[in-house]
């Protein structure tokens, strides 16, 4: 007879299971890096997924980016007018959007839109045993589902972020044009006058981290979904909450690091 004794906890049940979860998540990330470098590579599936992600979030990013650019400009104008410094407006907006807003806005939209759908999709595949079905027909589900999706989000979200800065500046231009009637090329020239290559590079790197986070968290939550259909909703929900939280944490760290680099 097997006699199961109560597992002794190191600290207490809650804290132990929290660290257990962190350990599991790190193992999941490690597994990704171990598998991403080994063949077979499912390039076609990465392309498919990237396309899906782009299609899913493009309209929302266009709308949000445009409005953020426009509103931000409109709200900033009065303060600058007080100093008679409205000519600084384009470069100020350029810095705000390219350095900070575009990547963050894109990441948050994708965390909601893409992260939840990855969590729900993998979650439902898990609870209806479709992931097991892949495994028994000798297909590596981690490679086919997780690796491809994480690569797709890490590739697509930076591109979407660049697109978001472009649309954001366009929205801002519309407001500037309303009061000053400057040309679009002039506006973009001014907007980019204070933006260095480092800014764009940092923004892309930041977006790669965000994309990786969104893909990884969505897959992790989905891949370990339990409790039937209820678990699917839970996986989607937790994927959004956790990836948004991690995005903010990463934002703080990356801003610190890039400011530090800028100084030296």
């Amino acid at each position: 007879m097997l006699v199961k004794q109560n597992k002794p906890y190191v600290i207490n049940k809650k804290i132990d299971s929290y660290f257990d979860g962190v350990y599991h998540a790190f193992k999941f990330v490690k597994r990704f890096f171990a598998q991403v470098i080994r063949p077979p590579f499912h390039f076609k599936e990465v392309i498919n997924q990237s396309y899906e992600i782009g299609i899913k979030s493009l309209s929302l990013i266009t709308l949000t980016g445009f409005i953020v650019g426009m509103v931000f400009t409109k709200q900033t104008r009065p303060s600058l007018e007080d100093f008679g410094a409205t000519s600084w407006l384009p470069s100020l907006i350029g810095i705000a959007i390219v350095r900070a807003l575009a990547a963050l806005v894109t990441a948050l939209i994708c965390a909601g839109k893409v992260g939840s759908s990855i969590g729900a999709e993998l979650g439902s595949m898990k609870v209806t045993e479709q992931i097991d079905a892949m495994e028994v027909s000798a297909i590596n589900p981690f490679k086919y589902l997780v690796v491809t999706r994480v690569l797709a989000t890490s590739l697509t979200i930076p591109i979407l972020a660049l697109y978001c800065s472009f649309v954001g500046l366009l929205g801002s231009y519309l407001n500037v044009y309303g009061s000053e009637a400057s040309s679009l090329t002039m506006f973009y020239k001014n907007a980019f006058s204070d933006i260095s290559f480092l800014d764009i590079f940092a923004s892309v790197v930041k977006s790669i981290f965000y994309g990786f986070t969104i893909g990884m968290v969505g897959c992790y939550k989905g891949y370990y979904a339990t409790q039937g259909t209820r678990g699917v909703g839970k996986a989607a929900n937790e994927a959004v909450v956790l990836s948004m939280f991690l995005i903010f944490v990463e934002e703080i760290i990356i801003v610190q690091v890039s400011n530090w680099i800028r100084l030296y």
Partner: protein, 255 residues
């Protein structure tokens, strides 16, 4: 049908004193089972008795806490990566809930395992193989339908076709007839028998449907409280009725 004939053939699945618990719940407590080449073995047991757990161990989806599971002379627990994949390609597993890929249509569902395991197949070869598997289960016309649009019985048959496409030596069926009407059930039973004949498979069939067990299987094992109470031919098992076995019989044939 006679079980003695099979004893002489080689052992395909050998389960040796297997234990499995989930937390406090002891599901399997000392399972022993031998399945021989070419035979169909039914495993009967009531809901929650651990039948699905047992059959999942045969393909390495779950591992025993204690004891050994040998399939085709290899201990499943010791296999990893390529070796495990190689063994799994020789086994077909039909899931209790069919587990069809929701996002793919029927054709893609069948083609997927084939494409992923045989990279060099031409388009014509793939559609030929899909066609062949669909004919085997009698659903040639459903190629372009999505799984959500199929009936339960059709889903089961597509699930079986998806495993047949890899030409397995062993078939594991997890409740192939559960939740189906008697007519569809008997069609599935006929399908299982014809798969055994045509593909020369050895099968393990989990069921609580005695008609299914009687029609499709050479031997029967009854799982009660985590261990096999009785293993033998249908007649051997059900002739001497005990308190634990007769409920099955009564439910299936008297009610």
């Amino acid at each position: 049908m006679n079980s003695n004939k099979n004893i002489a053939s080689p052992l395909v699945i050998n389960i040796n004193n297997v234990y499995k618990s989930f937390g406090e719940l002891e599901v399997l407590k000392g399972i022993n089972l031998s399945v021989f080449k070419g035979e169909n073995m039914a495993i009967l047991g009531k809901s929650g008795s651990g039948k699905s757990v047992l059959i999942k161990m045969m393909i390495g989806l779950l591992q025993p806490d204690k004891g050994e599971v040998f399939v085709l002379n290899q201990e499943v627990k010791n296999l990893q990566g390529k070796e495990l994949d190689a063994l799994r390609l020789r086994i077909g597993f039909s899931f209790q809930n069919s587990a069809l890929y929701d996002s793919m249509n029927v054709f893609q569902n069948l083609a997927f395992p084939l494409i992923m395991n045989h990279k060099n197949l031409s388009k014509a070869e793939i559609s030929h193989a899909v066609e062949e598997a669909l004919v085997a289960v009698g659903l040639e016309s459903k190629e372009l339908q999505m799984p959500a649009d199929l009936s339960g019985g059709q889903r089961k048959r597509i699930g079986i076709a998806r495993t047949l496409i890899l030409k397995p030596e062993i078939m594991l069926y997890d409740e192939p007839t559960s939740g189906l009407d008697p007519v569809t059930s008997s069609e599935i039973n006929a399908l299982i028998v014809s798969v055994q004949k045509e593909y020369r498979t050895t099968s393990v069939i989990i069921t609580h449907d005695l008609t299914c067990a009687k029609v499709t299987c050479n031997r029967i094992a009854v799982l009660v409280e985590g261990a096999f109470l009785k293993v033998g031919t249908f007649e051997e098992v059900f002739n001497q009725q005990t308190d634990l076995i007769s409920p099955f019989y009564n439910y299936n044939f008297i009610q």
